[in-house]
Symmetry: C2
């Protein structure tokens, strides 16, 4: 994918940059900075893992203040399972950048991704903060997206405009994903930047709702990381009248935000470790949304289903068996299964024809499971399971 | 593994045989029979998948009568997702053997394993019932174990003796496993034969309890099949005074039974599709057994953990991260992790030394996670995740 297409992406009032600080052993950009000209409203969604990385612990404290002005993020080292020292390292990383920028240290958010359990190479990071701040520019958002990549094959940037009360609002998100992608967002970082003027409760609500339907509706390998972080900064520089839960602008803003986050979520799955296909699993006519979600995830997480997709095998037996393993109530004769437009299982019987093998050759494949029990729906994006996944994860660390 | 070691295994009053009926496309034995000289007490544990294969539906009806005299089982075709016709095929398969044996058809149990969604090749099976019954012999139990293999690399047979009231009792089990091995026993068949005289309630209870600690405590790929079946037949021919919940013999019988079932369970994991290692995950000092189980399974099912073991990488970060993702309460500083005798994570910090890499080279590896919250323990056996797993499952069907 050509990264240069992102070079013209700007969000009013935001600057970005990244440098190679030497955290990653292989070289390359590994330290990113996002800066807002003015303190921005901030909201975040973080890993629920009991082992929270030091920067997540720090951010959880700071985001309760509802305002932030900058995000510093490194790749190559997760600063996770590093105890008290790790927490102090995260604070020191923050302090280095707030001193340089001349802002209140409490306005800095920190994120790290990479190897677990090793101390952050703090000297390298602190030493690189000068060039990092120097490099800040309005065109630097895509550079920031590059600096947070780990095993990602391409930087992830999404961008939308919307209009609120005659003012143009920009919503732009960057993300990194690849491994450990799973409901509560495993090793995933995403920073969403907008110049919208929006109330705090409204920002919290709409960001969490969008995260639930995007980053929390994808799976690569069923693992949840210690570092998952999604942050939105809204600096209000669009000058719109404040969006709140009763305002007309909310729908437009919500749609743009969801669009950006869903686009990033799809890119994360498409770039899942070793992924050769993007599988969209849509469970329909479930009794409850919870039922639909359970069935969708059971299919999305099944290694047998994932390997079948890698092998381009329309193995409907594995799909219905995964659906049947959940305890969710449905009748085995009312369930039907299509892959794209091709029926595979109807009225309790397999009906796969020759089209089935053909449709499995696509890069993006949609699976429709109808339970015939009600009106609830859930959609999840999953990757397939390939040799490359095994290679990457058997050899990542040693 | 040398299968001839099993040829002398006998259980008083039981006969076994198997033939190549042509169900499997590649040839080889694919139809097995176990027969007891007299009707035996029977108990069973079956898949909880909503899509139950036809033979499972039939067995659930019949086992409620508490007596069976024979089990006929085929490999190569699961007779699952085959609708009403599939059920009639299972009944016809049963009828063919009960007619030939001259027994009440209700005393026959049926099992099938293999491809889902295709009609059973009934003519081939019915045609092979003659030679199958002819071939019955007291030495034929290991032959029956061979006839139920699918992608298994070796037949699974375990055998123990115990003494109850001065009478020698034999407990012998055969099993097939390989793919889809998961808590509620996914594509797994196991038949346990004993000459013990035992009360029905006692047999039900002790068999279910042993299944929970053996077949329901293993995982290969997190998938639950439509065909999982574990059956015990107790024909009473040892002539012991009946074992019941108050009798002294219960402990000896329970220990022998658990030994047999655990041995089969370990063999199933060791022979998991593409498995190169047997990983025993022991979670200790949890607050409740449910907590211990949740943490053990989160580790056992993690593809990141499984690929790390395949790569012989002592990646403790993935293990503690999996433990932390469960919602089970524990303190991140009280958790400690050892692999065999080697400490990897203590007091909230990684402490892996050079021994860690060394210990990962073993074929069977024990992982100890202590939560420091109470006295509950759970142990699960898991396999690693290899290239061969991907090969087998990407190419199994088409």
């Amino acid at each position: 994918m050509d990264t240069t297409i992102h070079d013209t992406i700007r969000v009013p009032g935001f600057l970005g940059s990244s440098v190679a600080a030497g955290v990653k052993s292989g070289g390359g950009r590994d330290l990113s900075l996002i800066f807002s000209d003015v303190p921005a409203r901030a909201a975040g969604v973080f890993t629920t893992n009991r082992f929270k990385a030091a920067p997540v612990v720090l951010d959880l404290e700071r985001i309760s203040r509802h305002h932030s002005q900058c995000i510093i993020a490194n790749s190559g080292n997760a600063n996770a399972a590093t105890g008290e020292e790790g927490y102090r390292d995260a604070v020191a990383m923050s302090k280095a950048v707030s001193d340089r920028l001349g802002i209140d240290d409490g306005l800095v958010l920190v994120a790290s991704t990479g190897i677990i359990g090793e101390r952050l190479p703090l000297e390298k990071i602190v030493g690189a903060v000068g060039p990092l701040v120097e490099g800040l520019s309005a065109d630097g958002i895509s550079a920031a997206a590059e600096g947070i990549m780990t095993t990602d094959r391409f930087p992830k940037v999404a961008w939308r405009m919307c209009s609120v009360g005659g003012k143009e609002i920009t919503v732009c998100g960057i993300a990194k994903g690849a491994g450990m992608i799973e409901p509560n967002m495993a090793t995933m970082l995403s920073f969403v930047l907008t110049d919208a003027h929006i109330g705090q409760d409204c920002l919290d609500g709409v960001f969490r709702e969008s995260a639930d339907r995007s980053f929390n509706a994808i799976t690569v390998d069923g693992c949840m990381s210690t570092n998952d972080t999604a942050i939105i900064l809204a600096n209000g520089m669009a000058g719109n009248s404040s969006i709140d839960t009763r305002s007309n602008g909310l729908t437009a803003f919500r749609d743009a935000l969801f669009d950006v986050m869903e686009s990033l979520a799809r890119d994360i799955v498409r770039d899942g470790e070793g992924a050769t296909k993007l599988i969209e699993i849509v469970v329909e006519s479930a009794k409850t949304a919870g039922d639909a979600r359970k069935v969708a995830y059971a299919i999305a997480r099944s290694n047998l289903v994932k390997t079948a997709f890698f092998g381009e095998d329309p193995n409907w037996g594995r799909i219905i068996s995964a659906a049947g393993s959940t305890g969710v109530p449905f009748s085995t004769t009312s369930l039907d299964l299509h892959i794209e437009h091709v029926p595979l299982f109807i009225n309790g019987r397999g009906v796969a024809g020759k089209d089935a093998a053909e449709v499995m050759k696509k890069d993006t494949i949609r699976v429709f499971v109808r339970l015939g029990m009600g009106d609830a729906t859930f959609r999840v994006y999953a990757s397939d399971l390939s040799h490359e996944y095994v290679d990457i994860n058997a050899l990542y660390r040693t």
